[in-house]
Structure formats: C-alpha cells, structure tokens
Symmetry: C2
Amino acid sequence: MLIQKKFRCIKPEIRVLGIDDGIFIPRAKGLVDIIGVVFRGGRWLDGVMRTEVDVDGIDATDKIASMILESSHYQQLRIVMLNGITFAGFNVVNAQKLYEKVNLPIIIITRDKPNFEEIRKALEGLPYFEERWKAIQSAGDVVEVRVKRDGKPIYMQTVGISEEEAEEIVRRTSTRSNIPEALRVAHIIASGLARFKGRGNI
Amino acid sequence: MLIQKKFRCIKPEIRVLGIDDGIFIPRAKGLVDIIGVVFRGGRWLDGVMRTEVDVDGIDATDKIASMILESSHYQQLRIVMLNGITFAGFNVVNAQKLYEKVNLPIIIITRDKPNFEEIRKALEGLPYFEERWKAIQSAGDVVEVRVKRDGKPIYMQTVGISEEEAEEIVRRTSTRSNIPEALRVAHIIASGLARFKGRGNI
C-alpha cells in the first residue's frame, strides 16, 4: 500500500488539476489532445496545460506526468483528478505510477460504474495487455459517491489519499454539476478544441 | 450609426462569448488559434469554440463570425467580447461588420488605452492598409471603465449597444479580476494551448 497524503484541513481554494482527453476517431492512428485544467476549489480557473498521447498507445502515464511536472502551476497543485483511467481509447494511466512521479494524490472519477470485465475483454485484443491490465488495477476499488443529496451518484477510485478526504474534496469542488468543476471544464475545453471538421465546438 | 440592442434587464446569467488569440511568433507565416469561451455571466464556463486565423492576415472578421454562427451556443449568446481588436498580429476585426454578421453587440476590451497613432504606423507597412485602418476605426470611441472602485481602469469600445449597458455588463461579468471572466479565461486557454515547444502551458 502506498503512503497516503494527509490534509490538515481542506482549503476552499485547494488547487485541483482536472484532466480529460479530446474527441478522436476510435482505432485511428494519431495523437489526441489531453487537457489539464487548474481550478481553485470549485470556482476559478487558474490555468490550462496540454499534452498529446497516442490513440490506444501506452504513453499516457508518462506524458501526463511530464505535463504536470513541467507546468508552472505544479508547486500549487494539491490533487490530480482524472476523468476515467483510459485516455485516447485504451491508453491506460497507471495511477500508482502517476502518483509516484508527481507526488500528488490521484482521484479518478467516472459517471458510470466501470465494467472491468468489458474493459479486460477490450484490452485483450491489444499489444501490451499485461501492462494495460496492471494499470487498470492500479487505481484500486471503486467507491460510489453521492455528491448532491438528491443527485445521481458518481464513481471514484483513489491513490495516495483516504477515501474520506477524497470524497470531501470531490464534494467541495463539484460546484456547478455532480462532478468536480476542474473535470467538467477540462471536458468542455478538450471537446471544444477538437481539430476535425464539423466538431470545432460543442 | 448602427441600431443598438436594448436589454430590458441584464440577467446575472447573461451568456457572454469572450474571444482571445493564442501565443504566436510575430511576423511568422502561419495560423494562430482563436479561442471563444462561453460564460454564464461571470461564473460558469458553458462552452469553448475554436478557429484559426492567419498571422497578420485579413480573415479575422470572417473566421470569427463563422465560428460564432456555427456554434451550438449561438442561440444563447447575448454579447460578444473581444480582447482587443487585433488578433494574430495585425489581423484586425471590423467590429461593425462582425456585429452585422452575428447580430450581437460587440464589446472590445483592452487593459491599456489603445495608441492609434502607433497602430496606424504599424499598419502602414502592411498590405490592405485601408481595409485594416477602416476596421480599426469601426469600433468607435474608447471609453475608460473603472470595474472595481479602487482598481486600475480598463478601456472599452462598443458596437450595437449603449455605453451605459456595456459598462454594466462589463462590471457584472468581471468577477475574478478587473476584466470580464469570459475574456480572462479565453486568454488562459488560448495561451495554455500554444503548440510550440517550451510554451505548452502558462
């Protein structure tokens, strides 16, 4: 088990990095934009960063780690949130490796409960199956989080932080919807920038 | 004089489009990203759109108009704000033409008072001088706006809206800083996405 970061208190303006990928053509060869959005808590956008990963490649962990470590916002960041653990198709982030590289707790959020049997089947057809499957498993157990009392639940996996603290941060930063604002906005930006015709904005 | 749009009341969640350009190498040949950010008033980011214009070209008015008209957010938009009137170097937006094309009032914001003598001199060295100079003049008089009582003033030009209403909208949407949030965020996104090495994020 990895050591967990402890937060003495969760500041309302805690700097959160939310990461999502852009729209792309499944199974096409090519690079997909990965967008990182720095938020102060759930309110203010402080910065944007970008990298690119291969469709169905195996470079997401390294590319995302470099993007974070090279960012001028790195020293202010306290948490990294990922919109799911697979980017650009099946380019899987190894959440434990990412945690070790950037030394920040990782929270993975999905709107639907991940179906690991389906994911495993899809990965079996790809090279580096073992590496990808290990990455999928790196994020630990899936926990249901009810952000708003009467809203739909979301699903969370965590590395380097206790479930209780992660839940608290997810709740506090989900200001506009039932997912953390940094992830909601990362999704809008990544989708809005898609570079192929007819999909120039969402 | 163009007809001005009248707002019966300015809703706190008025949909504002803020437009800025990315970082680029001055006088280099090439295309520069133009980013449009849809905000609900000064609080929530609702959408992102993108187009590209030529460095020192003359296509900014048409490209920005198409980006707006083709956006799924177009019907919700009430105001277009530009971060200055020149994009990608001296690709000048003709604010009156833009107003006519998109049928939305235009507010141009600058942090410093525009120096038209200097701009005229710079334009004189470029092709299509007359067209560019006419575009510069299309935005009308520069008005000083003091957004926060004790803050630095900013400068505004308007087309299709009264100065009083434009000032009110600028003040209400400048939540985080002394410029409207849609423009502050458009700047962060456009700069953060710059595609040349070493400038991948700000």
